[in-house]
Amino acid sequence: MSRRYDESDGTREFPPGVADPPAWVSRRDFLTLLGAGAALAAGACMRRPDKPILPYVQAPADVVPGMPLYYATAMPLDGYATGVLVRSDTGRPTKVEGNPDHPASLGASGALEQASLLELYDPHRTGAMRAGRRRTTWGAFKAGFAPPALSRRVGARGAGLRVLMPPTTSPLTASLLERLRETYPEARTYFYAPLESPARIEASRKALGTALVPQYDFRAADVVVALDADVLAAGPFNLRYAREWADRRRTEPSAQLHVVEPTPTPTGTLAARRLGATWSAIGPIAAALMDTLGHDARPTGHVAGASTASLAALTPEARAWVSAVAADLAAHAGHSIIVCGERQPAEVHVLTSAMNDALGNVGATVWYTPPAVLDDGGPAHDLAALAAELRSGAVDTLVILEGNPCYAAPADLELSRTVGAVHNTVYLGAYDDETARVSAWHLPAAHYLESWGDARAYDGTTSLIQPIIAPLHDGRTTDEVLAVLAGRPNDSAHDLLRDAWNRQRGPGARMDGESDWNDALRRGVVSGSASARSTPAIRADAVAQATAALAARGATRGQIEIGFVPGRAVHDGRFADNGWLQELPDPVTKLTWDNAALIAPAMAARLGVATNDVVTLRVGDRALDVPALVVPGHADGAVALAMGYGRQGAEAVARGVGVSANALRTSSAPHMASTVAVLPTGRRHELALAQTHWAIEGRGSSIVGEGVEGQRSAASSVPPRKRRPLTLYEPNPPSPDGFGADQWAMVIDLDVCTGCSACVVACQAENNIPVVGKDGVMKSREMHWLRIDRYIDGPPDDPRFETQPMLCQHCEKAPCEYVCPVNATVHSEDGLNEMVYNRCVGTRFCSNNCPYKVRRFNWFDYNAEIAETERMAKNPEVTIRARGVMEKCTFCVQRIRDAQMASRLAGDAVTRPVVTACQQSCPTHAIVFGSLTDAESEVSRQFGDPRSFSALEELGTVPRVRYLARRHDGDGTDGAGGRAR
């Protein structure tokens, strides 16, 4: 077990550079500065500055300073809404949490939702409206672009008007586009997002007769097969699917997940059987799987002959995977789900639908609904058509409503040049980015936390979007701009939304509408708005066609493929200016502040490249220099390159981080290209990889709990360990009232932790954790209180992944406490390892003595340099740490003390439940927190679980954080035979 697959090559104790003295100051200079500093400190003593108290002039109802309010709203991403609850401290949004009533959230929130808060306060957002190089006003825009004036340019029927926006599900936007069509029948609207693919809808048109998208119920699934689908950690419903899968896995431990994927994803790391295969190999594997299953897998679970031609064409590993997975699927017909990745070709989607149908899953675990996205898969989603129109010169006015298409478009469209040549381009965008640069007009876009609007979830459920704060930069919404074009220039977004709401409910329901409206705002969802389910029969001819098409195409053996995958943190580039996300290590590669060409160890050896070596990727006549990153478990013959990097706009954080994958993308091959040449350049580019700095001295199994008795690991050779080892540390002093007080503890279930890292960003937002930048990460100075450790075991081409959230373990016998010379870290009565910033003098002894390496030191005054708006994102309940103090996880002590005070004031006998920030965000409920004194609590129950263990138990630190060991599947429970370990 190791952190790096090539750990044997360098068991260095420290990353290079951390032990070097700073180059800019000599010993003499240091002493001089020390003396001067002491003199200044002595001379600067004075009464602390007076800070006035500013009460309200007119106190708003409901607002009590110090008592935060929560508002329900929804964050749209690629059009789909995820419901969130936003904490507002006297009018400042300070934290985003999941909305339990929303189908896409179920109370969880992902890393992107959490980090959207920082996006709101981003100091690099566009501050002013601009026409050409001059500042302008909203009034001037309305005068120039409302119908009478607009008609003079684009014609009375709007022939010269084009609108380009990201895909949308908003009923309000749809109604405004309808109105625009009435005003200008010849104007046309296009939708573009770099990550969307028409394949899914194309497949359903062929196989099911109409445009439908699949929906899944993971709570009823015993076997899930994901074909190039990161279903538990990406996509519009990933939080829901992860929650449901974890619930199923908890109640039914034999539930299995099988994954075939080109590049390791969080879903893949959880798989019982994981196969690495290139993008184009997924189709043949799906065909072989279907052949093996036979078309009559229902209801007996009969498996057809396993020696079909399609199976024979596969590699031995793929054959073994297909046989085992087919047997598992057949044994659970009607209780299984096959999911196909969105960007796979339509044929694979057809086969997936056919297999779900054949297994009898449709109607049980799988059903279909009409797509929520407007004109999903339709002609309006063809960016190339718009580019052709622009080139033809027929377009006078192009209105781009967010999405930064000039960056995100495939390179062959040369959209920047084409858009720049359009007579009049209006760009509504949050940043002065690539698109803003070539646009004549630039209007600041309102953030979703500043906007009125609506959006639908993946299943069609409508949510209202309400502002939590007034626009910081006079931003406008897509709907407001559309309203101007459609001839309603004076309506605010709120008026438009209210109007659409009232119209939808008819004239008689006015009074009722008011309470409905308030209810929808309060709950964050419009009741009963989910799309109707359908379970259409599959067309046999479409399946035959798809099989034939796949067989004709075949796998591209021997050629290297490149896949353009979503940047896990920056998505398609939308979040590129977000420091929290740029510094969030990728769950699998641990890469921060960069993208890289991910390649398999075998391929790296063949090419003679290693991690950090820059390679040239050549697709056709386009070339791109990218640092390589060797990833165990990656499919051989495949290169994965994350999108969303290499931004060239004016955003200071995003600019120059990584390289732009769009330079290699073409409109005919936007997601995957075969025949890429990978050429070493001999240059190097140091990547900032978190966690991989230190060797773990062979302690891996003790860290992730291998061999814990509750783990069904028959093949494991590690003997079960003793629970409480002998210790030299003195026992805790007996507390006066025994276990009378709360005793806080946490349990983390590694069996359902996907490593999605939502908790990391949630912790960062809740606890005011700073960002240190790429240099800082390279010196392992990242400040995350909670990190996700990833360990690799087994052969590099087919490794086993272990994912482990690591945070302060709140040891009962904490090694850090014994070595602090100033008592700045001490134990509280209720079992917390307390860190007292105002006592800390920064010796860092505690960090040296911490076996878990969870203590973080403020090497610089990270919070001194942040922008005024970023200060607004800080949680007022947590101290902002200054330079020179140590910090670490507090178990969200501010939430504990709050709950204790509330309980005490209300006269409750026990403390109200405390939910930590990481626990709140977790999609899989992998984190459980509570008091051990309550024997009925979930945390007490899980503390005694046979799978529970403490990390590095042999050190005798007795942590208050325990882990539940991951169950390794297929160890002789279902007769399918497991992987040899």
């Binding site: 009464r47 309200y56 110090g66």
Partner: protein, 222 residues
């Protein structure tokens, strides 16, 4: 043969005395200066006690508390609900004063605030460091009277700090709150005298015992 070697006197006869003086004086100063400084910070003056803080409005607590018998919580309305006791909004001042004293000279800042919509900038009297998370609600709700920390506000023309507000002072009470607590009905009473046989404080303490100890660092620092 006699050789006379004459060397000019390098040191005057007083040199030794001066050297001794400098050494002794230096050492004394080395002890004396820190001693004075450490003494100074322990005085009420260094802590800002008993120092009338100038306010933008000449608000007189004596008139409002003693004269008009207005409860503390009428103006400091959040004291029972949340961490900060709160100051009244301009509108709240005007609600009473619209009928009386509104045109008087001392009310000028209030009128101005009402007209411009800009808040009155009150000077802080009781100031705690940023790393201290004091919560009014739990203190008021568990029997700590206003007077215990803010003194006889009913006798103050201009509000001033009357207690040290040092960590030691806080801990004096946190270590043994019982004797300093009063019945919840007497929270805002000024000049409350504890009956000798009163055990209500001890009872309040006992009720909270199962929740937690008050001397954990994270009780106040987080």
């Amino acid at each position: 043969m006699h050789i006379t070697c004459e060397v000019a006197a390098l040191f005057s006869p007083r040199a030794t005395t001066i050297a001794r003086g400098v050494i002794i004086g230096g050492l004394t100063l080395l002890v004396f200066i820190p001693a004075v400084a450490m003494g100074w910070v322990r005085t009420p003056w260094a802590r800002g006690e008993h120092h009338a803080v100038a306010q933008p409005v000449a608000f007189d607590h004596r008139v409002h508390v003693t004269g008009l018998r207005i409860d503390c919580r009428y103006c400091h309305a959040d004291a029972e609900r949340t961490a900060s006791a709160g100051l009244p909004s301009t509108n709240k001042c005007v609600a009473c004063h619209s009928r009386t004293w509104m045109s008087a000279a001392p009310m000028a800042p209030v009128r101005q605030s009402l007209e411009t919509g800009r808040p009155i900038a009150w000077a802080r009297v009781t100031q705690l460091p940023d790393f201290v998370y004091f919560d009014h609600a739990i203190h008021v709700g568990r029997g700590v009277g206003c007077e215990t920390c803010h003194g006889r506000v009913d006798r103050m023309a201009t509000a001033e700090q009357v207690v040290p507000l040092t960590m030691g002072w806080c801990l004096d009470c946190h270590r043994n709150p019982g004797p300093r607590l009063r019945p919840l009905t007497e929270i805002t009473t000024m000049g409350y005298r504890r009956p000798t046989a009163d055990t209500s404080g001890a009872r309040l303490v006992a009720q909270g015992d199962h929740i937690r100890r008050l001397t954990d660092c994270t009780t106040c620092h987080r």
